[in-house]
Amino acid sequence: MSDSNPLAGTPRRTRDQVADLHFMDARFKLLDLAAFLDRLEKASGPEDHRVRGLRAALPLLLKSGDDRVAQILHLWSDPSVTPIEKADTKAASGVWPGLK
């Protein structure tokens, strides 16, 4: 058996076909994101590091290329390479807190 999965090299689709399948899904998610940012505007206090990370990712949406998801996930990732001594929580927040 060859080492290729049967979905790779996918049938090429037109942009209209992709939009027909997924535009409404993307539309409501974009509106939800806009509503979230509006909600933040009305709230008080300093900017949360997670929101700072989200704002830092927004320009990546407008760049050309086909790896936006990977770029955003890399942006939000802990860049260090060695184990930490001890964790102060079991949870992850979604954005590396040191992201500027």
Binding site: D3, S4, P6, L7, T10, L73, S77, A87, G94
Partner: protein, 271 residues
């Protein structure tokens, strides 16, 4: 259409979920040991959990016509307590004698700490000693990329583990390439919010040519969906992929990986 759920925490799910999965075409379920949502205090708690995985849960699944398999370990979230972890590791060989145990898992890292790394190394040694398959949990969110790389380094440093006998689960767009490039299998976990959605999973499948990939729901006690794999199948159909191609991904691939364990039986062959 048939599929295999290669990663579902069924002890956390209801019988309604078993029924829905069976109706959706599920042919077998594999359940890695994991965190209960709280830290267990004693090895006795894990002894009972391993009894549940190897004895009770297969009977519950059988009522819906579903073969049930499991993986054994202490998960990384409870690895900070080294004494507890060592005591639990000592229990595992006895439970490996059960006919439904597929290997060691889901081991890995959570916050990428030194103690988590030490216990991961001990799990890998155990897998090597008993010639077991390995199922790896990679960390969540911002800890995933670093943790995935550390885990692969530990497995490679062990020296005796064939990468094709290891599945590294919960890959996303920024980790799947490295995992496949190093010869491991990659698991894409379908979650409503974290990890990958069915739509993103199908994008990844279209972008990465390797056949060493499976899809799973990792349904558990949190926000998760036991029907996530059939929903990804529906997305593949919407995009025009053939029934044969979908079958190879959601049934054939898990069977190919899991059949490396002598305990796994192709459900089709059982009928």
């Amino acid at each position: 259409m048939r599929y295999i759920e290669p990663h579902g925490h069924m002890v956390s799910r209801t019988t309604d979920d078993y029924q829905a999965m069976a109706l959706a075409g599920c042919a077998a379920i594999c359940e890695p040991a994991f965190w209960a949502g709280f830290d267990r205090k004693t090895a006795d708690g894990f002894y009972d959990y391993f009894c549940q995985l190897t004895q009770h849960e297969p009977k519950r699944a059988a009522k819906y016509g579903l073969p049930h398999y499991c993986w054994l370990c202490i998960n990384p979230k409870e690895s900070e307590d080294m004494k507890l972890a060592d005591d639990v590791l000592a229990l595992i060989p006895e439970f490996m004698k059960a006919k439904t145990v597929l290997g060691i898992g889901e081991i890995g890292l959570n916050k990428n700490t030194r103690n988590e790394m030490l216990i991961l190394e001990k799990h890998v040694e155990l897998a090597v000693k008993y010639d077991q398959l390995i199922l790896v949990h990679t960390p969540h969110l911002e800890d995933k990329r670093k943790g995935t790389r550390l885990i692969m380094d530990v497995i490679k440093a062990a020296g005796k583990v064939k990468p094709e006998r290891v599945i590294i689960d919960h890959v996303e767009e920024h980790t799947i390439g490295e995992v496949l490039d190093q010869g491991f299998w990659a698991g894409i976990t379908l979650y409503p919010e974290s990890k990958a959605t069915p739509v993103r999973a199908v994008d990844m499948l279209e972008n990465f040519a390797s056949q060493r990939v499976w899809l799973n729901s990792a349904c558990d006690w949190g926000h998760s969906d036991p029907l996530a794999v059939p929903k990804a199948m529906q997305e593949m159909r919407r995009r025009g992929h053939s029934a044969a191609a979908i079958d190879r991904l959601v049934y054939g691939n898990p069977v190919r990986f899991l059949s490396q364990s002598p305990n796994f039986k192709d459900p089709q062959a059982l009928r």
